[in-house]
Symmetry: C2
């Protein structure tokens, strides 16, 4: 007894119908946050499908954060506070090109140096160990848009210093060398340092949007970056659905 689409070709599979029904009712406010939703058995009866099908629908809704499930108790409409957003980390080069603008980069620093004590704990290597350090300013149509101050773990990218960063961005290169497996970031507003202000053509008190990001692969640090943007020209945008 294995019947489903078969007919019109673009028919929606049963597990999808169950999901769509539940999301629809949730949107219509049938169950407010925390309310008990129908049990698997009830949905089985309502849709005349097997329990595994209903289970798949509910399991996926749970994975998407739309419902909460408690074994032995039931399924509940989720509290939607802690919703995850789609803040896509895109390569700056792609981002600028996507706007139809011209991107170029100026390399101000590119060398191996001992890791400073200030950055050692943030980066995850011991102070004094040799790391690669680049300082690059990215321009959009000639206007400085980002100062990229970056520390790289030589063990993860031994050829980092040989790359021509006017042609390929560090982000692009590092993604190709080491698979990105985890990252932490922080976003803050602050005044730029004296050097950053000079590189961006700003006054010392002009507000900047600063993103710091640490990337690691298999809990080994790959890179730590401080990205400084002039507040007047840069906005991080995103959207989320539950």
């Amino acid at each position: 007894m294995a019947n489903f689409p078969s007919n019109g070709s673009n028919a929606v599979p049963p597990y999808r119908r169950v999901k769509d029904y539940l999301v629809g009712e949730l949107e219509r406010g049938r169950w407010t946050a925390g309310a008990l939703m129908p049990s698997e058995a009830e949905l089985v009866a309502q849709f005349e499908v097997s329990r595994m099908t209903v289970n798949r629908a509910l399991r996926e809704l749970h994975a998407e954060g739309i419902v909460d499930r408690v074994q032995g108790l039931g399924t509940f409409a989720a509290q939607l506070h802690r919703v995850s957003a789609g803040l896509t980390i895109r390569d700056l080069h792609d981002e600028i090109e996507a706007r139809g603008h011209h991107h170029d980069a100026v390399v101000h620093l590119k060398r191996a140096e001992p890791l400073s004590a200030a950055l050692a704990p943030k980066f995850g290597l011991s102070a004094g160990s040799e790391v690669f350090h680049t300082l690059i300013v990215h321009h959009e149509n000639g206007v400085p848009l980002q100062v990229e101050d970056r520390i790289v773990n030589p063990a993860q990218a031994p050829d980092y210093l040989k790359v021509d960063f006017t042609r390929i961005t560090p982000t692009q290169y590092l993604l190709s060398v080491a698979p990105l497996w985890q990252a932490q970031y922080a976003i803050e507003a602050s005044a730029p340092s004296a050097r950053e202000a000079r590189l961006l053509g700003l006054a010392r008190h002009d507000p900047c949007l600063i993103v710091t990001r640490r990337t690691e692969s298999r809990s080994v640090p790959i890179t730590y970056a401080r990205l400084v943007h002039p507040g007047a020209h840069y906005v991080i945008e995103g959207q989320f659905k539950p």
Copy 2:
């Protein structure tokens, strides 16, 4: 033949073992991006589990963006460039309490007024239609942390003006009234307005982190908020995995 944990209690279920194996090998670089990974049949043979179990493992990895699957072709290691981040939107009250600090709010404005032409396109209602407007300053241990300037659609929250916002935050209230189903946000660094600077106890040129957020339910606008934070005290943090 339905056996699994049963023994030690904390045993990992088979579908998890398959997932962990694949993620582990992926981390070790066994398959580079785009490479063909083992088929379901091969994993069935290797782990001696049913195909549904392997299928679930692969389906979840696909949902998590770790592998790509093509019907009729196979499973491939995903390109990990376009990784999405988890930017958690938490209620400010919860956030402050979670730090073990005291939160209080001062309501500076709370009234119905016609929607200004400047905000009309951003909000999605026509200019001049009546909306609710609140201006609240949130403090952490007495220090001003956020100016919350908010427009609310009366159709979605008719009793909004009756709420005591020193006891419950607008975010909390709105989430309880209308389920949050979609939102767009923008993060930028900028100088505060004169009034915002006064409310936060800042100078006009002190950098602020400004989040603007528009929330809608079923494509009907619920609320538009401008959240201004002193750059010196506020950081948005997050992390992401592929």
